[in-house]
């Protein structure tokens, strides 16, 4: 079991372990990859960067055999390989560690690493001692600080991830792909993971490291490849580049052009949104805030301060795991507050559960509409009326007519495309489903509307309509808080944007102060923006 990297170490360091040349991939009418190139040398950590939708995940899925590619070629150690199934890709020596872990948590580290290939007696019983000895030898050899006897569910997250990496390394691995491995790790845990990666590369394995966190690139990688819109947008030796250069490559020159395009294509609503940038600062400044957080702390937040004015759209920008979603959940009563206070219209808001928050006029469009936003198996009408049942009832009895009437009105106002209000939500497209989630809060207007990634998985047309809905809500006086990883979206919607880092807000900027997504990107990437900007 412990000959995994012998082949890789033996081959000459100048021959790339893996060479991707001109690979293209089309999904239906969408060109996901337009001919991308990537080379990984033995013992190298090669960072792969790009925005969501740039083509990183598509390439990873091709390399892991989940998708096939249309044109181009992929070579492993100089040999052309067809990646037609996950098993074939694994045979060729490519192993992928995904974000969501695939361990059996109740079993020990050893049992997980040998799952499906346990040493057995002739009668089929597991040779427990031999198994642990084998795993122990493997871990010692790779210098990995794990005890094979410990159950996985008692391990901190970084060690689980390390177990996952070890699992990927059991066997003949030449290329290890890590997909955003640090998104759920704390600082100390990160170091443990980086040490494990160095141990692996010292043995000649090549690592493709996908991340959104640019500072990691400088800490761990030797070379960087940037994808943008399904094509190569840059290739750097880490030592010869800086963050500014990387951000420019990731964001690209399209930003200004795109804004112009949106303005012409979507007409009125886009123009009114656009004009926000110009009018910001002055008109509402004197208004008392509709929502104010002061020093709000709990398990995930460390002293959050910000205020939203009536009719303001306030963005929360930050990395995945920075605490943006938790801020919304805390306001909505899903997470308890340990210290600090939240005020709504100057009155303390002590929401112990979402029901309290809803009653006070707060609405949340959650991140995952399938899991959190909708009962997929129920009709549009049932979903729409759910958060405001008291509104459609008298003495505990449902006013069916009123509910049906409201459902029809809301469907019309948000132009939800469906045969009628009794259509089950699961049959709608992503965009229409998201409109249903918005419609849950359509009438009466909430005082505060919290949006968590409001346009994920929504097509372009519906996206414009949703922007219109957000804008209408703000014009009617609702205070809107938007969490989004799409920086262009934040720039389009928001009057002000707060940067969230490690569970607190480090800085709030007026929209007018930001010219491009690139500038915003810089703010998110730098943990202490004021300091770094000075340099």
């Amino acid at each position: 079991m412990s000959e995994p990297v012998a082949v890789a170490a033996a081959s000459s360091p100048r021959v790339p372990l893996i060479r991707v040349a001109g690979v293209t991939k089309k999904f239906g009418g969408v060109q996901a990859l337009r001919g991308v190139n990537l080379e990984v040398l033995p013992g190298e950590v090669h960072a792969l960067l790009g925005e969501n939708g740039a083509g990183k995940s598509t390439l990873i899925k091709i390399l892991s055999g989940v998708h096939t590619y249309d044109e181009g070629s992929i070579e492993i150690a100089g040999q052309k390989v067809a990646f037609e199934s996950p098993a074939r890709s694994r045979e060729a020596g490519v192993a992928v560690v995904y974000q969501d872990l695939s361990l059996v948590e109740s079993l020990s580290v050893g049992a997980n690493l040998m799952l499906g290939r346990e040493p057995r007696t002739r009668l089929g019983f597991v040779r427990q001692r031999e198994l642990m000895a084998q795993v122990g030898a493997f871990l010692r050899e790779h210098n990995i600080p794990l005890d094979p006897r410990v159950p996985v569910d008692s391990l901190p997250f970084a060690y689980r991830q390390m177990t996952e990496i070890c699992k990927a390394l059991m066997g003949d691995v030449r290329v290890l792909i890590l997909d955003e491995p640090t998104s759920a790790l704390t600082g100390g845990e990160e170091q443990i993971l980086f040490d494990a990666i160095r141990t692996v590369t010292a043995r000649g394995v090549g690592v493709i490291y996908v991340t959104h966190r640019l500072n990691e690139v400088f800490r761990i990688s030797q070379r960087v490849t940037v994808f943008r819109d399904g094509a190569n947008a840059g290739h750097f030796a880490t030592a010869d580049t800086d963050m500014k250069q990387l951000v420019a490559a990731i964001v690209g020159p399209r930003h200004a052009a795109m804004q112009a395009r949106q303005e012409t294509s979507t007409g009125a609503s886009a123009q009114t949104v656009q004009s926000k940038a110009a009018q910001t600062a002055e008109p509402n400044t004197l208004d008392a805030p509709v929502l104010a957080l002061s020093n709000v702390s709990n398990a995930r937040l460390h002293g959050v301060n910000f205020a939203v004015r009536k009719g303001e759209v306030h963005g929360l920008a930050g990395l995945i795991g920075s605490g943006r979603t938790e801020i919304l959940q805390t306001i909505f009563g899903l997470l308890p507050i340990d210290a600090g206070s939240i005020e709504l219209d100057g009155q303390p808001l002590a929401a112990r559960r979402p029901g309290d928050a809803i009653q006070r006029g707060i609405a949340l469009v959650p991140e995952d509409r399938h899991l959190q936003g909708l009962v997929l198996d129920h009709s549009i009408e049932r979903n729409l009326t759910l958060p405001r049942l008291p509104q459609f009832s008298r003495g505990g009895w449902l006013r069916a007519q009123a509910a049906a009437q409201q459902a029809r009105t809301a469907m019309k106002q948000l132009s939800v495309k469906a045969p009628n209000a009794s259509t089950h939500v699961k049959f709608l497209s992503g965009g229409n489903q998201q409109k249903v989630v918005f419609a849950k809060w359509n009438h009466p207007r909430p005082k505060v509307l919290l949006l968590d990634e409001p346009t994920v998985g929504v097509d372009v047309g519906a996206r414009e309509e949703i922007y219109g809905v957000v804008h209408d809500a703000a014009s009617a006086g609702t205070g809107v808080v938007v969490v989004s990883s799409d920086l262009d979206e934040l720039l389009r919607l928001c009057d002000r944007i707060s940067i969230v880092v490690d569970g607190s807000i480090v800085r709030t900027v007026e929209r007018a102060q930001l010219r491009t997504a690139e500038e915003l990107h810089h703010l998110i990437q730098l943990p202490r923006p004021t300091e770094e900007l000075a340099t």
Partner: protein
């Protein structure tokens, strides 16, 4: 899947033509495959009518109604519990304990029917409340919690009289819950009808009903929509306990005594009726008339098989097969 979308426009046209009556019918007869249920019931009636000369008579149907009353009444409550994605295995034991409590209250506190009724139904409610609280507050799966109360409540019922039955002599109590009739319809059937009507109003016409469907259909989405899932779920268990108490009154009044060892294994019949009636064990789906029909199908099956002289052992086998088949059909 397909059948719930494609017929929509046709159904809507029909709704416009037939108006209110059609809307009510749709609401009460909802469910993904309701037609199969009615067809199954009809086939059963036809088969037994031809097979046995005694089957097709008013007396026999009243007999079926009386025999299924206990299961039907409790199954109404179980419908709420199962739609909320929970299960209650303790209903048989809750019935036994409630019966003992009613009989003892009448012999020791005051020999009036109202005291017996309050004691019986109150005891059922308490068992339900315990099920609900432990399930939702301690986050223990209701399967385990109610497995516990199944055993504990039965033990208590046996303890209170050291396993002896408690005789009931109150004539009002016996008439109201067991042996009386109105216009020839025995009271157990009338109590069943009352439970069915109450269940329909609560599940299909009240806010509580909507909340139950949401809590079972997608608990996370329900939470994000401000539904107090703990409270709603607990209430479903309490409702089931109350109906187990009512069933206890009916049974003990009919047999003029409360016995601590009655209806062992009844939870199987109740759960079978509910699942056969179109409730999904995965939550979020089901309807009251379906449950009633499920209970009647099982009752008719029992009755018919007896008339045909099928052994009680084989009846058990047939019932078991039906439960599994029903789940296979309601599964998404």
């Amino acid at each position: 899947m397909n059948e719930s979308v494609s017929p929509m426009p046709a159904e809507q046209q029909a709704a416009q033509r037939h108006g209110r009556a059609w809307r009510i019918a749709r609401r009460l007869l909802q469910g993904d495959r309701p037609y199969m249920l009615y067809i199954a019931f009809a086939i059963l009636l036809v088969v037994f009518s031809f097979a046995s000369p005694w089957f097709l008579s008013i007396d026999n149907f009243l007999n079926i109604g009386r025999q299924t009353a206990l299961v039907s009444i409790i199954a109404i409550g179980m419908t709420f519990v199962i739609i909320a994605r929970q299960i209650d295995l303790s209903v048989g034991s809750a019935l036994a304990l409630s019966g003992m409590s009613a009989a003892l209250a009448m012999s020791h506190i005051s020999d009036t029917w109202i005291v017996g009724a309050i004691a019986g139904i109150g005891t059922g409610a308490i068992v339900g409340a315990i099920n609900g609280f432990v399930t939702t507050r301690l986050n223990i799966p209701s399967f385990l919690v109610t497995l516990g109360t199944l055993s504990a409540a039965r033990g208590l019922a046996l303890m209170v009289t050291t396993t002896r039955p408690e005789i009931i002599t109150n004539d009002h109590f016996i008439a109201i819950f067991g042996e009386g009739d109105i216009a020839g319809v025995p009271v157990p059937i009338l109590w069943t009808l009352l439970a069915v009507i109450g269940g329909i109003l609560l599940l299909h016409y009240s806010v509580f009903g909507r909340q139950i469907y949401a809590a079972g259909g997608n608990p996370t989405a329900a939470l994000y929509s401000g539904i107090n899932i703990r409270r709603v779920t607990t209430l479903a268990f309490v409702l089931t306990g109350v109906l187990a108490g009512l069933a206890a009154l009916v049974l003990s009044a009919r047999s003029h005594a409360a016995r601590p060892d009655v209806v062992q294994g009844m939870e199987l019949d109740v759960i079978a009726s509910v699942t056969l009636g179109g409730c999904s064990l995965f939550g979020g789906r089901g309807f009251i008339l379906g449950t009633l029909l499920g209970s009647l199908i099982i009752g008719t099956l029992n009755n018919g098989l007896v008339l045909l002289g099928v052994s009680s052992s084989l009846q058990l086998v047939i019932k078991g097969v039906i439960i599994v088949a029903a789940v296979a059909f309601t599964r998404k």
